[in-house]
Symmetry: C2
Subunit: 308 residues, 2 copies
């Protein structure tokens, strides 16, 4: 059965909601997007800020497929998918899904953009929790391809299949996270490196700006093309990762132990004494970051690796 | 005083030595490179393998500036810089530098490509340890811009200045590491993320291939353009990293604690029970990695971010 044309209900029009709206409207030429938010100046706000998420010339073809809703019921009543990015607290999310479930068509799928509240928690009061899945973006979602798709044990295979199929069709890279762990995967990985970065700066091994330069000139480009397992697998030659671990494993373990020791000695916990100096160096190095230039370069990098 | 034309003595003609030779010859149009290695078939070996490190058409203009030495003395006697990538053990390096020092011109600088043996250890028997500095590449150095420049406390400012100046002139990104710590900075950062990656795969949160895809679709492209501090500084809006830590710090700390707990429970040490499954999944996902395609894409990424 062919699906009807997509009508995406965007619940919550902050930066993530606007970024996703721009993505749907530009990458899915036949969809409509209905935005709902409790802010009183919603239409004016969206029309002012949405162009910042679009390429020049895209606004006119997008705005004609954009609608606004004054209440949740009218926002979701014709939706094929409801995408939620409301306040990041469990009570809000637990209370809104039963309402959405009540008003949305029976075949609509439900996506939460949460960065940490699992679908199994959010769906606690739903009649049919199989309809809900977390679709966690890497900011900003209109540029970055990654979406972490995190089902609860109740999420149905049909909802998962439709979710993957939709996002692949709009040029994204949806990846399934198989267990609802703390922070999901991308943030866990990024924060692990970030902790080590904070630790090395706190010890005076390297400055903030030099550390960023190190990452930009090595792991960034490398991991754009091949993730850590593939990279070390290549580094091991014909014997692959097994051979890499035989040859370099001793050094890897020594580094892991040195890191543990340094993190402990430096008391690298959030809010610790080290934090002010790291923040000071970062302020001094960058002032206010120009994200437009960053986003433009990121688009070029993604084009270079064959993304969209 | 203008420096004389560069004559780089390459001591050790493995993959790193050949990669650096290709870099010098292609990015420094007037330099000569003299290669020394104990292998008996040195000339034939280099002439066979060097083209693999060059772009098409570069070989003819490079080979005329390439020389071979049968012994260390003739390799370094006219050198402006001696670049060592011999066996990765301290005894070898401690014993070779006094010989190099004896034969090389008094103004030659000494670079070691070691990934872990500090200059302060290597220079133990040198008359003048101020001439030696570690210049640690991120493989392969003819493509990846990063060079970690790690002085010993004895390394002179003049040697450091000449080192930075040379490598910047050939389009690299030399970054100073201020303390001789275990593993230097790039590997410490990469291994910290790799440990978390192994831990998440070992727990069944995500597959090897999906984890790589997560990194390739998020942190890779992002960190090609802006390192972790700059990225989180931008993520904090006008308040920068300080504001980011106020808003997201609680989640960061929870993730750090979850990671510690998981690493402990999973016994994520090199050679642990988890390792076979991670290696198996990696083999299954990738077989033998085609590095030519990886390198070609990496060049494009670097061009996109303004590298060379």
């Amino acid at each position: 059965m062919a699906e009807r044309e997509h009508n995406i209900a965007i619940v919550g029009a902050g930066t993530i909601g606007l970024s996703f709206s721009a993505l749907h409207l530009t990458k899915n030429a036949t969809c409509t997007v209905t935005i709902y938010d409790t802010r009183p100046d919603l239409q004016a706000y969206v029309k002012q800020h949405l162009p910042g998420y679009l390429m020049e010339g895209d606004y006119d073809t997008c705005v004609v497929r954009l609608a606004f809703a004054n209440d949740l019921q009218s926002a979701v009543k014709n939706a094929t998918a409801v995408q939620e990015q409301g306040p990041e607290n469990a009570e809000f999310k637990v209370s809104i899904w039963p309402q959405i479930e009540q008003y949305a068509p029976a075949d609509a799928v439900f996506w939460s953009s949460t960065s940490g509240i699992p679908a199994s928690v959010q769906s606690a009061k739903m009649k049919d929790p199989s309809r809900l899945v977390v679709v966690h973006p890497f900011n900003p979602p209109h540029i970055m391809p990654l979406l972490e798709v995190v089902p609860s044990p109740q999420t149905s295979q049909r909802v998962l299949d439709r979710t993957l199929s939709y996002w692949r069709a709009v040029g994204r890279t949806p990846v399934i996270v198989k267990k609802e762990c703390k922070g999901f995967v991308a943030n866990r990985l990024a924060f692990a490196l970030f902790r080590e970065a904070c630790s090395l700066v706190a010890q005076g091994v390297v400055d903030v700006k030099d550390l960023d330069e190190i990452v930009q000139a090595s792991m960034g480009p490398r991991w754009s093309v091949a993730g850590p397992f593939k990279s070390y697998h290549a580094g091991g030659g014909e014997g692959g990762l097994t051979s890499f671990m035989e040859k370099i494993g001793g050094t890897v373990q020594e580094c892991w132990e040195a890191s543990e020791e340094d993190v402990r000695k430096g008391a690298i916990k959030v809010g610790g004494d080290w934090q002010a100096e790291v923040c000071r160096q970062t302020d001094e190095a960058y002032g206010v970051v120009e994200t437009a230039e960053r986003d433009e370069k990121t688009r070029k990098v993604l084009a270079a690796v064959g993304g969209t």
